[in-house]
């Protein structure tokens, strides 16, 4: 129920008691300000975390070969294990239920040059499905395809920074670059969100790389991805079966921890995600702590305010103020101050967060933000608790007999 008279009464009280108003308003504004800033920073940390760790496909498994450490089936230990093209085919044949994509990868550094510009880059001999593993994004032209693999073409897909280094402003598409003395035709330029190093790579068909190396069929690594709908548990079973299968095929002692290394990104990603959610919990916890501190702050101030006004309230009651009108007056005043200053604190914090952007990047806080609903919800909570905090002492003050309130101290 709106009463102009009551609002006038409240505005007068507020404007005539500036220090008191300022103190309670400041506490509320500060509480909500710190909460939102902290929450925003927490989100910024999470952003950084996500960008740093979660850029590649998370359902992939990388398989490396090493040297055995135990003798087995007549083989001596310290034997070097090598993967071959046939291993890819065998995995495809044996694990159709789990398998989504598979690609070999052969890493070689090569001096690359175009006209007068030259530099050393990492080249990777891969299959077309490799694009999926690195989340490679094509800017120009196309990625490698099955034809390239089948025909062992001398086509290359180069990273954005390779193009920039070697070609400057020139359009690299259709031009020929020399890789360790062999001419490759640039068919595409890609970008990658994983950082600069990921954009200084040249992709070639793995068959072409093998052709150049005396037509062998050796592979450095195998990248396998499982169907994402299987989930982490089944992925771990898949990993286990894969390890067993490969060890069996390569005649490695099943108890040998060396020989074959399998790195399950899914597991790592899962840990990272768990870490990210722990981070979120910590941020929420700290935020709640701030909010509670703010609520306690308002409660203290409200107790103090009501105490300070005891005599005035006694006078008002002697002049005919009902307990209800006394409570209503204090509550309306405290809610008004909390709502106003809370909104101010919230707006300032949001504006600051929005203007921060990437300026705190070196502290691992990237794009700090808080969603509006969280901000409004927390402000609302603070107002509610401010009202409750005001209600309790107000009710007590209103029930004190005026004779007690008026007693000279």
């Amino acid at each position: 129920m709106f009463s102009l008279d009551r609002w006038q009464e409240i505005f007068q009280t507020i404007s005539k008691n500036k220090l008191r108003t300022f103190l309670s308003g400041f506490t509320v504004a500060l509480g909500i300000f710190i909460f939102i800033i902290l929450f925003g920073f927490g989100n910024g940390l999470k952003n950084t975390f996500k960008e740093e760790f979660l850029e590649d496909a998370t359902n992939s498994i990388r398989i490396f070969a090493g040297k055995t450490s135990k003798p087995y089936k007549g083989f001596k230990s310290n034997r070097r294990i090598e993967f071959k093209n046939s291993d890819i085919e065998d995995i495809k044949l044996n694990f159709p239920f789990y398998l989504e994509y598979i690609t070999p990868r052969i890493n070689r550094f090569a001096l690359s040059s175009y006209k007068n510009e030259s530099n050393n880059y990492s080249t990777q001999g891969v299959a077309p499905s490799h694009q999926y593993f690195e989340k490679t994004i094509m800017m120009k032209g196309r990625y490698l395809n099955e034809n390239d693999v089948k025909n062992k073409t001398k086509n290359a897909v180069i990273g954005r920074l390779v193009a920039l280094d070697l070609f400057k402003q020139e359009d690299p598409l259709g031009k020929y670059i020399s890789l360790a003395g062999v001419a490759f035709k640039v068919i595409g330029v890609f970008q990658d969100e994983g950082g600069d190093n990921e954009e200084r790579i040249i992709f070639l068909p793995y068959t072409t790389r093998q052709l150049l190396e005396k037509s062998n069929d050796k592979i450095d690594q195998i990248l396998v991805s499982f169907k994402p709908e299987l989930g982490l548990k089944i992925a771990l079973i898949f990993e286990k079966k894969l390890r067993l299968f490969l060890k069996n095929k390569k005649s490695i002692d099943p108890t040998d921890s060396k020989g074959i290394y399998i790195r399950n990104i899914a597991q790592a990603a899962n840990q990272n995600e768990e870490f990210a959610s722990v981070l979120q919990y910590i941020v929420t916890f700290v935020g709640l702590g701030t909010l509670i501190a703010g609520i306690i702050g308002i409660s203290n101030i409200m107790v103090f305010v009501v105490k300070e006004r005891t005599k005035e309230l006694g006078v008002r009651k002697a002049l005919g103020a009902t307990p209800r009108s006394v409570i209503a007056m204090i509550l309306q005043e405290s809610i008004f101050i909390t709502a106003l200053s809370g909104s101010i604190g919230m707006l300032i914090a949001i504006v600051i967060l929005q203007n921060l952007g990437d300026t705190l990047d070196k502290f691992f806080i990237r794009n700090p933000y808080v969603d509006i609903s969280t901000a409004i919800f927390s402000t609302f909570i603070l107002i509610i608790f401010g009202a409750i905090a005001g209600y309790i002492p107000a009710k007590r003050a209103a029930s004190i007999k005026p004779i007690v309130a008026l007693r000279d101290e």
Binding site: Q12, K16, S399
Partner: protein, 233 residues
């Protein structure tokens, strides 16, 4: 106007019970100016508080304007106070962040009177106590006598049936005290009923009737020849 029969009141002080009023019979007619006298601890302030519905009675009957005042909850007491009673306190009890006019209009605010009318009525009462020019001044800018006159204007603004003054001159010097008493006498001449609690003889003599309390009972109740305060002003 006021009718009190066999009034008892005691306070609990830890384990002891302090019997403050031990059977008071007391009547006040309309238009009277009564002084309630007694040394400290005689129960005079307690009596005034009960009459003013600032405190409850334990036993006995209290009627005000033929309404039985008993077992009031705070809401009802507040309404009756607002309707029937005006208070003047020793320490003035003005609200320090409100100016004279706003202080005087406060009881009218609780009567639900509109702002404009409130201000007109309040200003007319300030004029009656001779403080029209001080309407916009804060209590801190007024002298003690002026503060008490504002308080009297505030008490009168609600047109109460009874004006209750608890040591109204207790914090004032003699001259100012007489000024305040002069004002109360004039208000009484207009037909208002006034109860004054005091321990000063000369103040009591400016009333029309003196009731003396001692140890919780009335020991004397007599009409007196009123001394006009205007003689001293």
């Amino acid at each position: 106007m006021i009718n009190i029969e066999n009034l008892h009141k005691s306070y609990k002080m830890g384990n002891n019970t302090l019997h403050v009023l031990k059977g008071i019979d007391f009547k006040v007619e309309e238009g009277e100016l009564v002084a309630i006298m007694g040394s400290s601890g005689s129960g005079k302030s307690t009596l005034l508080n009960i009459v003013g519905m600032l405190d409850s009675l334990d036993e006995g009957l209290y009627t005000l304007d033929d309404i039985i005042i008993k077992d009031l909850d705070e809401t009802k007491a507040a309404k009756y106070r607002n309707k029937f009673l005006g208070f003047v306190f020793q320490s003035f009890n003005l609200i320090n962040y409100k100016n004279a006019l706003e202080n005087v209009s406060l009881p009218l605010y609780y009567q639900g009177i509109k702002r404009k009318e409130r201000q007109e009525v309040a200003l007319s009462y300030l004029e009656k106590v001779g403080l029209k020019e001080w309407a916009t001044h804060l209590p801190s800018e007024l002298s003690g006598g002026q503060k008490q006159r504002v308080a009297i204007a505030r008490a009168m603004a609600a047109r109460p049936k009874v004006l209750l003054a608890d040591e109204p001159t207790g914090a004032l010097d003699t001259t100012t005290s007489f000024e305040v008493m002069d004002l109360l006498q004039k208000i009484n001449e207009d037909g208002n009923t006034i109860l004054v609690v005091t321990h000063e003889e000369d103040i009591a003599k400016m009333c029309k009737r003196i009731v003396r309390l001692k140890d919780g009972v009335i020991v004397e109740d007599k009409n007196v020849e009123q001394v006009l305060a205007s003689k001293y002003v």
